[in-house]
Symmetry: C2
Subunit: 115 residues, 2 copies
Amino acid sequence: MSIDKSLLTGSTTTLILKLLEEKDMYGYEMIETLANKSDHTFDLKAGTLYPILHGLEKKELVESYEKKADNDRLRKYYHLTKKGKNLLKEKKEEWTIFSNAVNSVLNGGFSYASI
Amino acid sequence: MSIDKSLLTGSTTTLILKLLEEKDMYGYEMIETLANKSDHTFDLKAGTLYPILHGLEKKELVESYEKKADNDRLRKYYHLTKKGKNLLKEKKEEWTIFSNAVNSVLNGGFSYASI
DNA sequence: TCTTTATATATAGATTATCTATATATAAGT
DNA sequence: ACTTATATATAGATAATCTATATATAAAGA
């Protein structure tokens, strides 16, 4: 089953930052890695990713540098900045709060206030 | 801490359908209930909810009827149709798949494929 | 009594994130 | 030779939600 893509809205940036926390990566690599780690739930399109990366760089959340692969191919690597790490931390917390809130509505129907 | 609202994109409809699975409700009641159940993580705006309800009715996922409250005030109640119940079931499954996928990227970095 | 806040629904227009489509270029496989 | 995979990029379309605004009544407070 494939999921409604609009669910991803708001999470894509978090996922990208998380990948870069582990190691520097180039765009195409991120798409592949996300697809693998999510069992193809995330099949990010190139046309989605690259503009996001440019935006992250502009906000100084990532830095880029070019490096040649073994096959002499030029790749653009992205590196997470200190600022990016801080944002990632926040985004992780947001995700926890959000997913807990959704779960509490979907499973149970109890109210936090009633605890 | 308040969360980035764009996270909600794609989940709002699911949450509304879930509320209606439990009982018929009117719009304003849904906003209040969602806020309570989510500890105010979801503070849905009226301008967001009502157009969504109209859309759901058009797609025959909900039906509406008017009923007077004790104070003689007219309220528009919404009822989940069979079609709406089926969609809710699908949406719940999508949420599970999606949230598992996000968690597997954020926590660990292991790949499904490697299990 | 007057004013503000809460209840209740509704629509227009703006914003934003992501998607589709398209473009370019090289490497590898058939 | 042709197709698929690798690799990056941008323009324009789409879709979901937001803000702002409007209307109307009830309740609460000054």
